[in-house]
Point group: C2
Chain length 465, copies 2
Amino acid sequence: MKKAFLILFLSLSILGQAQSADAEQIDKLFKTALTEGKAYDWLNHLSNQIGGRLSGSVQAQQAVEYTKAQLDSLGLDRVWLQPVMVPKWVRGTPEFAYFETSPGLSTNVPVCALGGSVATPIGGLKAGLVEVTGLEDLKKMDPDKIKGKIVFFNRPMDPTLISTFDAYSGCVDQRYAGAAEAAKLGAVGVVVRSMNLRLDDYPHTGSMSYEDLPVSDRIPAAAISTNGAEILSTTLKLNPETKFYLRQNCKQFEDVESFNVIGEIKGSEFPNEVMVVGGHLDSWDLGDGSHDDGAGCVQSMDVLRLLKKTGYRPKRTIRVVLFMNEENGLRGGNKYAEVAQSKNERHIFALESDAGGFTPRGFSFDCSEANLERVQEWKKLFEPYLIHLFEKGYSGADIGPLKNNEMVLAGLRPDSQRYFDHHHAENDTFEHVNKRELELGAASMASLVYLFDKYGIIPGTKIKG
Amino acid sequence: MKKAFLILFLSLSILGQAQSADAEQIDKLFKTALTEGKAYDWLNHLSNQIGGRLSGSVQAQQAVEYTKAQLDSLGLDRVWLQPVMVPKWVRGTPEFAYFETSPGLSTNVPVCALGGSVATPIGGLKAGLVEVTGLEDLKKMDPDKIKGKIVFFNRPMDPTLISTFDAYSGCVDQRYAGAAEAAKLGAVGVVVRSMNLRLDDYPHTGSMSYEDLPVSDRIPAAAISTNGAEILSTTLKLNPETKFYLRQNCKQFEDVESFNVIGEIKGSEFPNEVMVVGGHLDSWDLGDGSHDDGAGCVQSMDVLRLLKKTGYRPKRTIRVVLFMNEENGLRGGNKYAEVAQSKNERHIFALESDAGGFTPRGFSFDCSEANLERVQEWKKLFEPYLIHLFEKGYSGADIGPLKNNEMVLAGLRPDSQRYFDHHHAENDTFEHVNKRELELGAASMASLVYLFDKYGIIPGTKIKG
């Protein structure tokens, strides 16, 4: 009995020491991030010196070169560019739209083309309107009433959901598939209420798809600001004959070459176990992409720097990956996974930050129950930093293609309340990122990477869900 | 044994039902706040139609009248004004300051008078500078070096503390007592680094005190922006002979009458048990006081409205109190407590929101262990709303004077990262408040008030700490 107690005592004592060493390392990571973090400076350059970084644009290429040079300066073991062909869609001159209640009586409304949309005829497009609350509603309509009309998708995001990402998920289908569905019914264009919980004057772009619709059947698709959607809806109720005018001259070009930017610290004990931390380097073109996803890129870069700066030597190979083309193609994420598979690299962990540079609240995990339970045991280590969420859930678009049966995929979960005020809009800009919030995110990510590097994953357990 | 199980089963089942009824009511409160909340509209008026509400100002009086009228419209059982004499300090014309490295070579820096400061001579004040890191540092200095100089207090807030309020507490003594201490050593003025974690160009005002210093010995005190403090400090290192010029013409007037604004729902079962929810209606004069503490006022007002709107009939008497003069006197808080005591009112609970209208993270409690344990049992009810903090700690300045041996004092704890970017500065304005974040705070407060109303407090336990 005495021996058993002794063993128990020793085990608890070792466990206690491990926890306290972890607490110490995590404390160092947070203190370093908050006093000597680089994320904010990097973001300042990406946002204010380069700007919006749509795939295939000059700015996207500048961002590749800038982040590569910055990673080069960190003294990592290896930094490289991974070529990937990306779509190139160009907005062209600013869009223009108004609604007209009677000839000559018109009101301008803020709109922007959805990413991937075709242009209107050069002189614009004018037609009557049909308002629907979504795809289901559209399918219930008499097709005769759709023919020749512009379909106005006006389902607002649900304000009662606490996670604004849930509200987005419940709404974004009309933006993504609205044009294809409306075109099948003979519509000549679509206007979609911006994915924004706030009433304001910014139209929010975002990806859409024509699916397998022949090119000749494709119709222009634009987003309208939430205030614009409100006034348009009210006007339509008063006057169902209201016409809508839209002009946009966006264009899809041939694919062009771009790059994922990758930096790596080689593992000292298990170099063949690869851990990825990343965000996406491309952004939409209206703002400067500070929250989506400049923040995730600079945080990921700082994770490797913070680990080095605090004197931590990883056991496993840790890679920062700045993925290209998340917004309108996911080519970078797919390419990275494809190359990893072709090289037979064993990825055990991937963490993405692509939900804005706001105060971190925790992480969601796509992994086995065993690994999730392990993570829950680490909760206490994060509590001093007011990080409480460790839940099963979505990780990130770019790391999704890496998914295998054993690995742990994770997503940073920042406070989501303000995200969709800025998402894909002109006001996704640097001044809306708070330095401390960004740094706390980087430190949280570095802490999670540290723990998974130190303890590894629990292998061999199948992913559920 | 069987009977014991049956009792256990029934108890658990009753407990379960109670929890689920509570969960339902709290869900209603959040949904109502997020879809039909009034807090944001009220704040819009307070901030944009009235503006900064310094005690004794026309705007403070307008705010009293506006909020009283709004409470009148809610159909409460009673709404009234509680008179209180408040100090009246007026900033006067904008302050002006520069430093001069050699005659004729000067650089302007953004400053503002600290609240309660005396003016400079009419033509301004010019003197050499002594930089110190705080009161301790000052006391160690040779008094001969202080005499005739302007003391520059330049201790920054500690960025490594996760709660920015801790960083503020660790720093604010130099602002509050710096002038009195420096004057005792013969200084002619003080300039204090703004209480702001960010580097920017806004000077942040705030209260200061001359303690019992004779009027003739009082010296002007101003805050300098953090960028200003950085450049001044660098310049002083290069040129210790640098002179500082300051001009301000602020003035303290006689006390004037003002009011706490109070609204009440009479308790249906225990009308003599009073519960208070509040914020302070006065603000500093530089911005419009949206976060400090317009947010707390409109949230508190909405607590009573949300309870009514969701059909909840309080058992206990619930009062919203909008306290006057928290910023530079606490007269409203003291008056409310004094009147409560003189009327022998039994206050069992008070909740203050005075930490900004940001995403709520939880509450801190100043109460007995027994009540704190009870609150911890309610944590689960708040988790769906991402509210996790239920800790022992500070409640609020205005409700502090109410403290007695049995009651529960609580403070809303919003995310604190951005608070001191705006606190007491020109940029504490409406556009920096997010509607949803504000509403989530109001709903959290209403939920806590609901629980304490329904279950009461555990009486007779002495407050510790």
